[in-house]
Every structure is written in structure tokens, then in C-alpha cells.
């Protein structure tokens, strides 16, 4: 496929438009990075397609014209690697994230994960483990902390992390487990505790170049830019951890 790409008259001096499918949770950080990158590379236009990692993966595997995939779920990413859409060499586990316990802003009853088993805790929301990575990690962490069996009956499964946030923001659940980066998006919830790193498999945000990319060189350049120190700092500002 490398030879095929070289046949492409890669926009030498002309405009290049890169399409990047990225997990919705990366949006704010990516907006900042996009601005600075386009300043530095006026010939490049970055088009972001934000969505759920699962949808993004299905789109790519059905041939969507994407240059770069930035996933919030390692398993979805691995599916594309397995399909041969992404080569290991052109991918990297770029970011990490932390799992936090959040409660409504004014709540005072819950102070730690173990408080989830208290009598007066009604509902706890996590993402649906089968489809929301944060939910899967949350379930795993609760299991490791031996709280799962006790709280399972109180769990409300959400379609995505945003939904967990909405529930907590509106006080309709007593607590929720989300990524730290998501919790920072709203000031109507407060972070009570962070799950220890050893309670769950590491949270990884892999990024990789799609083999079918028609702008391989420009993509590669951006891919490398993402790994630069100043970029990583931006991500860290938004709560991500460098991998």
C-alpha cells in the first residue's frame, strides 16, 4: 500500500485537507491544537469528525475517507489494527486518563468509593460496560474494590459518559463514575475520589494513521505533532495524562 500512496500526486504546495476521526471527549483539547497547528501549517486544513469511538471505528472499517483515528477505546482501535486498516508502526498509545467518582455539587454524603454502599445512596450511574469504555473500567474498578456486588442493583447504565454527567448534574443519581477529563467539563459536579491506577486496566487513547489515507505524508506530520511536548501539555491541561 506504501507504493500506491506514492503514486498519489500528494498536494505538494497545494492545500491539504486531513480528516481526523476523534473521540468526542477529545474535542476541547483538539480545538486548541487545531488552531495552533493550522497557524503553523497554513497549507493544511484539519477536519475533525468527533463521535463515539465505536461509531468512528465502524465508519472507518466501512471505508470512510479518514486519515487519522484518535480513539478513546483501545479495543475499538485494536479491531482496526486486526482488520489491517492501521499498521502497528503508524500507531501509538498517546494519552491516558483517570477514573473519578463524581457527585452533585451540593452533595455531602459521599466522600469515597466505599460510601457508595451506604443506605442513603440511591442510584449510581456508569456507562454501559459493553459499549462505553469508561463504564467497563468503572465496573472493573468497583469489582476490584469489592463494591460491585453491593452496588450492582443501584447501577444505572448510560449510553455515554455525557449521560452520566447529566444524571449527576441534575441530581438524579447520587454519584457517577466518569473520566477525569469529562468531569472537568462541568462545574455542576465535583470530583470526590480518583480510582487507584491498579484497580483497573490502564485507560489508553491510541492514535493511528489509516492505511488508506490519501495524504499520508501530511498525516504523518500531524501524527508526529500530536506527540510533541507542547501538544501533550495541552492535553494535560485538559486533564489527560501522558502515556
Amino acid at each position: 500500500s506504501e507504493s500506491e500512496k506514492s503514486k498519489e500526486p500528494v498536494a505538494e504546495k497545494g492545500k491539504v485537507e486531513l480528516t481526523i476521526s476523534a473521540a468526542a471527549s477529545l474535542k476541547d483539547a483538539m480545538d486548541v491544537i487545531q488552531a495552533s497547528y493550522e497557524d503553523e501549517h497554513p497549507e493544511v486544513t484539519l477536519t475533525f469528525n468527533f463521535g463515539g469511538s465505536g461509531s468512528l471505528q465502524q465508519q472507518i472499517s466501512q471505508g470512510a475517507p479518514v486519515d487519522l483515528f484518535f480513539s478513546a477505546a483501545e479495543d475499538k482501535f485494536d479491531l482496526l489494527v486486526a482488520e489491517g486498516m492501521i499498521t502497528k508502526d503508524n500507531s501509538i498509545d498517546l494519552l491516558g486518563n483517570e477514573l473519578v467518582l463524581i457527585v452533585p455539587e451540593e452533595d455531602t454524603t459521599i466522600k469515597s468509593f466505599s460510601d457508595l454502599t451506604k443506605e442513603n445512596v440511591s442510584k449510581i450511574s456508569i456507562g454501559t460496560p459493553e459499549i462505553v469504555p469508561a463504564g467497563a473500567y468503572g465496573k472493573e474498578a468497583l469489582e476490584t474494590m469489592n463494591l460491585w456486588n453491593e452496588v450492582e442493583s443501584n447501577i444505572v447504565y448510560a449510553k455515554d459518559v455525557r449521560q452520566v454527567l447529566s444524571y449527576v448534574e441534575t441530581g438524579n443519581v447520587s454519584a457517577g463514575i466518569v473520566y477525569k477529563t469529562d468531569a472537568l467539563l462541568t462545574d455542576k459536579v465535583k470530583i470526590i475520589a480518583t480510582a487507584e491506577a491498579d484497580t483497573h486496566t490502564p485507560i489508553i487513547y491510541p492514535v493511528g494513521i489509516i492505511n488508506d489515507s490519501k495524504n499520508y505524508d501530511a498525516t504523518k506530520e500531524f501524527y508526529e505533532y500530536l506527540q510533541s511536548d507542547e501538544t501533550i501539555e495541552i492535553f494535560e491541561d485538559y486533564g489527560f495524562t501522558a502515556q
Partner: protein, 225 residues
């Protein structure tokens, strides 16, 4: 083959079907009733601000379902007036219950019934209602014995659309009623999760189930054509 049969008769497979059926039927009936009444009312009355009210009724169609769901949890949530009233009445909040799914389905299906029914009431020959009026029928009796049968084609189409919409309701339900297996996990939610998590066998079985339900519904109203 055996495993397929096992899946089909498993609680896990059947549960979303029952949940969906129950919710769609109850929501469908409620929507058909209030949609028909509201449509007849609005079809016959002209007043200022009618367009504004009708726009509000149409809102659930144009907003993303998740946003509709978000409004619902705000309106019926525990900090709202309605939410507190419900908690006080039933000793528990409505959110995450089976009734929440019914409400979500009602809200999204209502505009379909309303618009269809209204077109039926507008299109009909008013002199037949007049004949009933002369025959001594009260407005309610005219509504039941004359207007509804005369607008039946439009009402049936509205019912089909509303029931289908209630059966297929997904985004708002997921937000307002949550995804609680056996309680609020409807067929569309189950299908979504199955596909997203790559469980294509279950996904297809459920798709077949929902297609069958739709087919049976269409057959049921067919007699009237």
C-alpha cells in the same frame, strides 16, 4: 442451531421484547387518545398563538432525542416541581422507571399522531357532522360516532406512525429511563448495545423481532383498508 434456539428462548432475548411491547402499546394508546382529541380541538379552533403552541408540540421531532431526554430529566428530575410532586406521590422518582420510558415514547410519538389526525379532521366533509348535530348528537358523540370514523384513514396512519415511533424510540428513553434490563431496556436499546459491542447474533435476532412486531402491527390495521 441449538444455541440459537437457546438464545431465542432465553430470558435475555425475550425480556427487551416484552419491555418494548408493553411500553409501545401503553404509550401508543395514550398518544392515540390525546393526539386525536388535541387534533380535533386544534382543527376546529382558530386563535392567536396557535402556531406557537403547535410548534412546541412539534419540538420533540426536531430536537435530537438525547436533548429531549435531557429536557425530560430536567422537567421530571428530582429538583423540579414535577419531580418532587411525583416523588411525594409515589415515594420514588419517575426517572429510571418503566413509566419514564412510557413518557419518553409519548413525547416523541405525539407529534406524529397529532399532525396525522389533524389532517384527517380538516379534510372531512363538515356537513356530515352537521347532520349528526341536527340529529341531536352532542359534540362528544359527534366526535366519537362521526368525526373519528370519517377521519379513520388519517387516524390509522397516525396510529401506525405513533406506535412505530414509540416502538423504535431510543435516544430520549435511554436518557430519561436509563438502560435497566428487564425494566427499561427496550428492543432498540438492546439492538444498539448488541451491535456496538459486536454481538451480531443477538442484534440480528432482535432486529428480526422488531421487524416482526412492526409487520404484525401493519397486518392488524390492514383490515380497515
Amino acid at each position: 442451531m441449538d444455541s440459537l434456539l437457546n438464545s431465542i428462548f432465553s430470558e435475555a432475548f425475550l425480556s427487551p421484547i416484552w419491555v418494548s411491547l408493553k411500553i409501545a402499546i401503553i404509550a401508543g394508546i395514550i398518544v392515540i387518545l390525546i393526539g386525536t382529541v388535541a387534533a380535533r380541538f386544534f382543527a376546529r379552533k382558530q386563535f392567536r398563538g396557535k402556531a406557537v403552541i403547535e410548534t412546541l408540540l412539534m419540538l420533540p421531532m426536531v430536537l435530537p432525542p438525547t436533548v429531549v431526554g435531557f429536557f425530560l430529566i430536567v422537567i421530571f428530575g428530582k429538583n423540579s416541581w414535577a419531580g418532587q410532586a411525583i416523588t411525594w406521590l409515589f415515594d420514588r422518582p419517575i426517572i429510571f422507571t418503566w413509566w419514564a420510558a412510557v413518557i419518553a415514547a409519548i413525547v416523541v410519538a405525539f407529534p406524529l399522531m397529532y399532525q396525522s389526525a389533524k389532517s384527517g379532521f380538516l379534510a372531512m366533509d363538515r356537513d356530515i357532522e352537521n347532520a349528526a348535530r341536527v340529529d341531536g348528537a352532542s359534540e362528544w358523540k359527534i366526535f366519537f360516532f362521526i368525526s373519528i370514523p370519517l377521519a379513520s384513514k388519517a387516524l390509522i396512519s397516525g396510529s401506525i406512525l405513533s406506535f412505530a415511533r414509540a416502538l423504535g424510540e431510543f435516544g430520549a428513553t435511554l436518557m430519561f429511563a436509563g438502560n435497566i434490563p428487564g425494566e427499561t431496556q427496550t428492543l432498540p436499546i438492546a439492538i444498539y448495545i448488541a451491535i456496538d459491542s459486536g454481538n451480531m447474533v443477538m442484534a440480528w435476532l432482535w432486529v428480526i423481532a422488531i421487524v416482526t412486531l412492526s409487520f404484525l402491527m401493519l397486518l392488524a390495521v390492514r383490515v380497515k383498508e
